[in-house]
Symmetry: C2
Subunit: 759 residues, 2 copies
Amino acid sequence: MAQPFTIVGKSTPKLDGPDKVTGRTRYLHDLELPRLAHGKILRTRLPHARIVRLDASRARARAGVLAVVTGADVQQHPFGFAKDQLALKRGKVRCIRDEVAAVAAETPEIAEEALELIDVEYEELPAVFDPLKALEPGAPLVHEELTTNRHHLRYQFTHGDVDRALAQAAAVVEDTYRLGFVTPACMGTMVAIADWDPAGNLTMWTTTQVPFIYQRDLGEALGIGGDRIRVLQPPVGGNFGRGLDLYPIDVIAALLARAARRPVKIEFDRVEEFLACPTREACAIWLRTAADRDGRLLARDAHVTIDGGAYTSWGSTTPYVMLSTVAGLYRVPNVRFDTTIAYTNNPYSGSMRGYGNPESTFAVESQMDDLADRLGMDRLALRRLNAPKPGDVSPQGFVLTSFAMRECLDAAAAEIARNPPPPTPGWKRGVGYAGMFHVGGGARIYRSDGCGAIVKLDDFGKVTLITGASEIGQGSETVLAMIVAETLGVPLARVDVVNSDTSIRPWDVGTHASRTTFVAGNAARQAAEKVRTQLLDMAAAQFDEPAAALDVKGGWVFARRDPQRRVQYEAVARAGHFRGGGRMLVAEAFYDPPTTMLDKDFQGNVSAAYTSAFQAVLVDVDPEIGRVVVRKVASAHDVGRALNPAAAEGQVHGGIHMGLGYALSERLVVERGQVVTQTFMDYAVLKADDMPEIEVRLIESVDAEGPFGAKGLGESGVIPVAAAVRNAIKDATGVRCNELPVTPERLLAGLGAAIRGGS
Amino acid sequence: MAQPFTIVGKSTPKLDGPDKVTGRTRYLHDLELPRLAHGKILRTRLPHARIVRLDASRARARAGVLAVVTGADVQQHPFGFAKDQLALKRGKVRCIRDEVAAVAAETPEIAEEALELIDVEYEELPAVFDPLKALEPGAPLVHEELTTNRHHLRYQFTHGDVDRALAQAAAVVEDTYRLGFVTPACMGTMVAIADWDPAGNLTMWTTTQVPFIYQRDLGEALGIGGDRIRVLQPPVGGNFGRGLDLYPIDVIAALLARAARRPVKIEFDRVEEFLACPTREACAIWLRTAADRDGRLLARDAHVTIDGGAYTSWGSTTPYVMLSTVAGLYRVPNVRFDTTIAYTNNPYSGSMRGYGNPESTFAVESQMDDLADRLGMDRLALRRLNAPKPGDVSPQGFVLTSFAMRECLDAAAAEIARNPPPPTPGWKRGVGYAGMFHVGGGARIYRSDGCGAIVKLDDFGKVTLITGASEIGQGSETVLAMIVAETLGVPLARVDVVNSDTSIRPWDVGTHASRTTFVAGNAARQAAEKVRTQLLDMAAAQFDEPAAALDVKGGWVFARRDPQRRVQYEAVARAGHFRGGGRMLVAEAFYDPPTTMLDKDFQGNVSAAYTSAFQAVLVDVDPEIGRVVVRKVASAHDVGRALNPAAAEGQVHGGIHMGLGYALSERLVVERGQVVTQTFMDYAVLKADDMPEIEVRLIESVDAEGPFGAKGLGESGVIPVAAAVRNAIKDATGVRCNELPVTPERLLAGLGAAIRGGS
């Protein structure tokens, strides 16, 4: 397909790559400030206990200690989605992550030692670790003042008549899918550096990925206006949703810095990262799917139970997206959805790449496979039959414009069949499939889903994009620079991206929901278009031609009719500047997608574009020991337009890595409120040589609203993986593993059951 | 006078003050970078010599040395006003400042030691240290390839018929005024830090005050495009014009960093600062002034001889401004002006606060005083008679709009007479006067005299001004923030100024010619006005009123007819943002004053406003030992509008301090090419307790083009001081001291001559 583009569509190394591979990048961990003090946090070791006495006097007296803060002696305000926690706990602790005191000292070692000098006497309380048990009468209350452990959050949705559809169905499949805690396991742990100036303004260097929301939330937690907080985001070693909410580390850094009158850095070590980094929530999804005899879906009925943990962060809100999948992944005319969310004494969960969708897609796509079995239909045919098409409107009111799910399905199916790896003798081979449905044009979960951009073109032809969008390793800098270079018709090397300081950047809602390429990309494109118009206006005077007769490409401004009449674009800019009445080239734009928030009935068109993907997974299973080896993954993605194909593939590779871990090996073991897996020896992230052959196909549906037709992709890679792996294992062994991860023990148990059952 | 302003016009502490006084400010000297190497420069000790041999092998071999660069082994390109120097000299050295090699090492100490390991063999050449001797036949040539020491720069101007006017004059006074080298003596020495990235992009942390010109010049010196250079300007401890040109320190830092593949910092120690910091040029001004019997000026005839030193920086171009004073300080219908500028083997000069004007004003105002004597007229009456008025056009074509010289004269005269300090018994007392004439609305010495501004108002009501203007201690941050706050009607504390990174800031020609308040102020005001318009448009929808019926003041948007109908401005911004089709508040502006460059005949209207000042100085002189004590200075300044009166007064105080040093004590002694005064023990900057009582009067002529009526002020304070002191000494003693500084020796010599002459 001939593309009319110079820069967009060509695989381009990440602009921040050279600095990263040569060790020049200064990550948050590397930052030093004059007089920097080091903070450490004292956590409880009891999942539920009353704080009887806390004596920090010995810690305060230790040489080198600059400040000790506890819940009793600092001003703080509740924060979080439900405003149900303080950074430093008062009265009682509700999970083992709970922060009871913190120390700032001259060195991290002194701070660590001082923690041990803090005497805390607890009265241990009965605890509850299961969301359903938490709702039983007489269960210990996590928050007494709420008088119940049932969370006020409830996601209840009905569309059509599910009961009638069930009654009329030719086939109904019903199961419960269980998903445990996992953690993003970022290579760079969480860090917060706080620095107050004499006027009471706070500068924060942080791992947040929502800097402007963070500004507001941190201000509320500290009791100051967001205008007093400047947020700086140095490069981070991964985030994956971890930075989507405010967590105690940031508040405590600010409280310590205020008390110590010094800048304070808190840096999690790896054990602390396992304990205190927000996880993907544990949940159980009960799901029932009904179809007619031809395989046409009639209804879905779902109930999601979520372990909310001790406090409310994004993990308790994931049904928002789970519902989208239950209602939107394949055409389904009747949908019922409900939730049970309960407080427990477990650690609480945040958002993690895909945000509910890997969980719900595991349930939906596992069940689609089983439904095909029940109907005796081909698994792909069932999915092809029910795949949504452009023009569809989902039961929630999502309007599908560009949408290439069937193309993704065909591409992934063809790809997995091509050149299969040689089989392992004695092992069983299987192929599994799963699709996914996700927002691809932002997601209006706040009243604004916008992003601002400022583009400046200087005398030397250097272009700076100041964007609201945050780079968290996903390659946004590069793709935004490409969009600006393409729009302006200038070489990519001339474009810089500035994206890490709230005092300079225009607003953005943050990096989430795969929105950056789409939303920030449109803002960048619009600002660049304004600069392009200004540039051609300047050139019009210099060429003595109307601006419409001129064009700019490859760094040259030229006459369309006579491309040899051309001037380097920076020469046009200089000539337009260095004269009486001259001017510079600067423009801004703000793009907010034409979408609506969900209403109280969860109806609305939250995204300006929706996207899909389809994955096929080929596994070999050693039935003797239950070992599953993924040999090949074929992943086809409707990206609208692949602006930076290599980066898009990289996003998918990373997602598949994370998804395979979710499917097979990663498991944050939480037992009686304790996080048992505290190192990479226990928590099994897949290593490079665990990874299969991966084939990515980027399907271009060319979205009319997206920048150059592009849609979001950041989360697509991870979402279908676990379901496709589960379905491949079933294909190989006949065992339906409905609980993640599919460990050898679980698979062997299933195999044993299958043998015992005689099947 | 009732002012309609909330913020403008009120004395406001500098916004960067608290950080400075609490030691939080990180000056350029304080900066550290990972892997930072330290550079040192080897200079010659011979003012003129051929480099016969340079052997750096021992230095290269020293442990801890990372790179050694010499003229022989680096790629470099000539730079400077006349492109007549290389950063690392080749073939020969022409003055004792000349750089022959440089070392980067792990520590400054190692670098220093390595310098001593570099063997340089010179063949000393005959040298020339006097510009007139340099022009004699057979004088040693500083640049052989030019075949002469006469500089190609020549400033020749004629207006009217000077010879006829001289013939018709009732009185003609003629004298030569001699001015020596002085140095800005900044508390913070010069520093350059250079850091190349793997792609060949260079980041510079520098003392420049013209970052965008510097980008171009440094790029040329290094043979790369300016687009590859990012310029960062951390806070500096003074600049005063020192940062107006590119000097070898910056080029060498970049060359060392390139060779060492490490960031390199070069930091001058105090001795090096005395040797290598650009000076105010030494010059001799021959001047003749003619008047009719009533005291009306008929003509001025001037010839300026400048010691250009070994290379050409701004010091050789100061006649550009000297001419303005000869032609513009008082009405004078016939003017002739010429220059002799010669290369010598002395250190070369740069620009320094006032840039030629303190020098020429010393000549012109000394001569005005003597002319009054000759005519038997009152010194003030003569000046009042000849003072320009609004509507005047100077012989060069400068158009005076707002112009309050007579008001300044009256104010300073009245102020000096009020409550004079008690006299010292036995000492002689005198009062002296001097006025000055200067640009106050930019100075178009480049084809653009513009400045860009971007203003953003965020959800929290925080306003950021991103300005092209550089802060060098003059208070620009504060006054620009005030202009934005006043324009937007928001509290000053809500405004931040971003001004130190070329990759973010829009273009500005730099800090010089007292232009920042005027030019950057207008740009800031225009951008803020656009944001204000956007804000009121948002409010119009929310108030259901036309925008014209609304106003914003003190942080409230209100209905003009019913000011109780009001909403906090940040609430308006939030409501305008957090909705479908919402947007953010960002706007940009570029202001380039409506002026022209001087043509080849030095005709043109270079500034959008002109300004004047008048100073009166009261001295007591001990005739026994020639000691002069300045007891009081009254200084009246046409500031257009005093936006920040305390800061304006501070600028004048600083100028008077510098001017008194120029008049009485500061003298960079250069003998046979050697800088003899290398410490503050030798170079006598006035101490706090040397300072007299100072009374500043700010005269508000309210310029129609200036922001809120303001004009430039940065240089006015220093310009007339030396002349006023000289005239006060004459008033006290009768001695005409036409050479600066007026040391006790010189004054005693004059007194002796007066006694010997029997007067």
